[in-house]
């Protein structure tokens, strides 16, 4: 269930974020807040600035101006688009390595927890390179969750998965949000945003054009029974993108 500013403290807050690469502006004056248990989709066409925004939220890149804030001690997990794990190591070895690098107090316990949570126990001894794309992505997500972060940021998490694998992954992510983890994911698949997100942030050419529920977004673009993807394209056209 989505939370609101009135009831809970934000897990992550972006204030007036801008990012420039030379003469090109990737983000301009983007502000929003993410709340506990919220599942937020950041949608937009290619080059809209989704990955840049997630990278800044994750602390990989610094903004040119603006700031990202989160309550002290709240960890932010990050899951890059491509599985950022070692294909020559087994599932358990990858989890153990990152648990040790995270300096967790009990790495073995964290590994066991993630094997159960991602339902990868049976494949724990298999090299990641031998797993299916879906399972590799689950290991990727599991690494992002090792430190039990308050917020998890996922960049295009289902882009390389088949429909069955997507369904399983969304089930897993929804369960995370259900346990109170803030989840924000970037996607250009507007159907996934409509189906799984509690809130949608629409980015185009680095500008935040909209923030609201999928239903509110459909109403904002007319809401005359069109499907969500058509509404999205129309919305971008109307805003000159």
């Amino acid at each position: 269930m989505p939370a609101t500013a009135a009831t809970r403290e934000a897990t992550l807050a972006a204030r007036a974020l801008s990012k420039r690469f030379g003469n090109r502006t990737a983000l301009r004056d983007v502000s929003f807040e993410l709340y506990p248990g919220e599942l937020v989709a950041i949608i937009g066409p290619n080059g809209a600035g989704k990955t840049t925004l997630l990278s800044i939220l994750a602390g990989i890149q610094a903004p040119s101006s603006g700031e990202v804030s989160s309550p002290v001690g709240r960890k932010v997990g990050w899951v890059p688009q491509q599985p950022a794990v070692y294909s020559k190591l087994s599932v358990a070895e990858n989890l153990r390595l990152f648990a040790r690098l995270e300096k967790l107090s009990d790495p073995e316990q964290a590994v066991e927890r993630m094997l159960d949570q991602t339902e990868l126990r049976e494949r724990s001894g298999d090299e990641v390179g031998r797993l299916s794309g879906g399972n590799q992505q689950r290991v990727n997500v599991a690494v992002g969750l090792l430190g039990e972060p308050a917020a998890l940021l996922l960049d295009e998490p289902t882009s390389s998965l088949d429909p069955r694998q997507r369904e399983r992954l969304w089930g897993f992510i929804a369960a995370l949000a259900g346990r109170g983890t803030t989840v924000a994911y970037a996607t250009h698949n507007v159907v996934e945003a409509e189906r799984y997100a509690d809130r949608v942030l629409v980015l185009a050419d680095g500008e935040l054009l909209f923030s609201g529920t999928p239903a509110e977004f459909e109403r904002a673009v007319g809401g005359r029974g069109r499907d969500f993807e058509a509404a999205f394209v129309r919305f971008l056209d109307e805003h000159g993108h």
Binding site: I60, Q61, A84, V85, S87, K88, F98, R100, L101
Partner: protein, 451 residues
């Protein structure tokens, strides 16, 4: 850093082909070099045709004989002769590769030498036929045979000089000589002069012959003085120049040891660069770099881990290689701790260069290619002898060699292996300096990797 090292070692353990190449390559190189250095080239096979009829190989010189067949035997000690019986057969042998060269001694060589030693005119000539297909083999055969023929040439010259000196001595002092099997007593200039003086003393005081014979005695005096000088002068012609060699920098490294040092350092460089550049680029290819440097590991620690891993593994392989080669070529085992220090320092410096390459190239394939392409000119530049290029070019090459770790690594290992090169301290300082510089370059390069 510890867990990253463990992780990389696990990855290497699961890449058996890569590890096998990294181990087999230096070991094979070591064995090849060791075998080559411990097996000097054998006698070259040379087709040999003498057209001198049997029994006609003697040269008469004054009262002495020179037998050419004894010099042929000397020549055969240096070559592996394949005796042929015609010029066509000699050429066919060389063409087919059965012989590296053919040496043809013409039938009139005794007359040519005889003419030279009696009249001083002429240039006795033997014919050498070489196969020009392979320039390296051609040079080897050419040098080997030419060197042997020069030895024979010198031996004949010395023999002629010896005969000349003996004959001059007899002209001066007289003695017994053999001529056509008979023994003759030669009077000699000194005895002739003494005889003439006695004859002059016996002549009447007013005899006109006194003055005439006095002139002959004067001539004999001059001739005796002149020939007394001729003796040592002729003797000196055989060895006109003696080289008195002085080493200014103490002992020099034996050639074989230096060759081993080059092989070890080249292997160390190649393995380290490939491993460091490849392992860093792999972090990006596995998309893990950004995840790692997002608070888990600092970029500096990550680079240091790659440099230590690559340099350490390659240094261990280089030590094994040196130990293997030492069964063929003497290396100073009493300086083993310095082997470790020199190779470890070299490994770290090459490791730093490797991570700089890995950071710049970003992809494993591009990083490997760049590492390989850089290795060859870096080694070449450091190995160009000073005397083989002009001063300006040498200064330029020295400057280039200075900014890469190959030259200081070679100097450090050279000292460690044989104690004959200059002190090891400066090369070690140089290597540490280069490690810091390339580490800085790598640090700048990997800033882009996280983007």
């Amino acid at each position: 850093m510890r867990w990253l090292l463990v992780k990389d070692l696990q990855i290497l353990r699961r890449s058996p082909l890569l590890v096998a190449l990294l181990v087999i390559y230096p070991v094979t190189l070591a064995l090849i070099i060791g075998f080559a250095l411990s097996s000097p080239p054998g006698k070259p096979k040379v087709a040999f045709l003498t057209q001198v009829p049997k029994g006609h190989g003697r040269i008469h010189f004054g009262s002495q004989n020179i037998n050419l067949s004894s010099y042929t035997k000397q020549l055969f000690e240096s070559i592996q002769p394949i005796v042929v019986h015609s010029r066509a057969q000699a050429i066919a042998d060389v063409r087919s590769g059965r012989s590296l060269a053919a040496l043809i001694v013409p039938s009139d060589i005794p007359e040519q030498i005889q003419n030279l030693v009696t009249t001083g005119v002429g240039s006795p000539t033997v014919q050498l036929i070489l196969n020009t297909k392979d320039p390296v083999e051609r040079q080897f055969a050419d040098q080997a045979i030419e060197a042997r023929l020069n030895e024979v040439d010198q031996a004949v010259s010395k023999q002629v000089l010896r005969v000349a000196v003996v004959d001059l001595q007899q002209v001066l002092s007289g003695g017994s000589i053999q001529f056509f099997g008979q023994s003759f007593q030669l009077l000699g200039l000194r005895d002739s002069r003494a005889l003439l003086r006695r004859v002059i003393a016996a002549l009447p005081a007013r005899s006109p012959l006194r003055a005439e014979l006095g002139r002959v005695v004067g001539f004999a005096d001059l001739a005796i003085q002149g020939l007394a000088f001729a003796n040592p002068v002729l003797g000196s012609i055989g060895t006109p120049l003696t080289v008195d060699q002085t080493e200014l920098s103490g002992r020099t490294t034996p050639t074989a040891t230096y060759a081993v040092t080059i092989a070890v350092i080249f292997s160390l460089m190649l393995v380290t660069l490939l491993l460091a550049a490849g392992m860093l680029a792999l972090e990006r290819e596995e998309h893990a770099f950004a995840r790692l440097v997002r608070g888990l590991v600092s970029p500096g620690a990550l680079l240091a881990e790659k440099a230590v891993l690559a340099g350490g593994c390659a240094a261990a392989a280089a030590i094994l290689m040196a130990a293997g080669v030492s069964t063929f070529v003497p290396l100073d085992w009493s300086r083993f701790p310095l082997w470790v220090v020199a190779l470890a320092a070299a490994g770290i410096a090459f490791g730093a260069l490797g991570v700089a390459i890995g950071g710049l190239a970003r992809e494993v394939r591009a990083a490997s290619l760049l590492a390989f392409m850089l290795s060859l000119p870096v080694a070449f530049v450091a190995l160009v002898p000073a005397a083989s290029v002009s001063g300006g070019v040498k200064s330029l090459l020295d400057a280039v060699a200075f900014v890469f770790p190959f030259k200081p690594a070679l100097d450090a290992a050279n000292n460690a292996f044989s104690a004959t090169a200059p002190a090891i301290g400066w090369p070690l300082v140089h290597l540490v300096g280069l490690a810091i510089v390339f580490g800085g370059v790598a640090r700048l390069a990997v800033r882009r990797l996280a983007e």
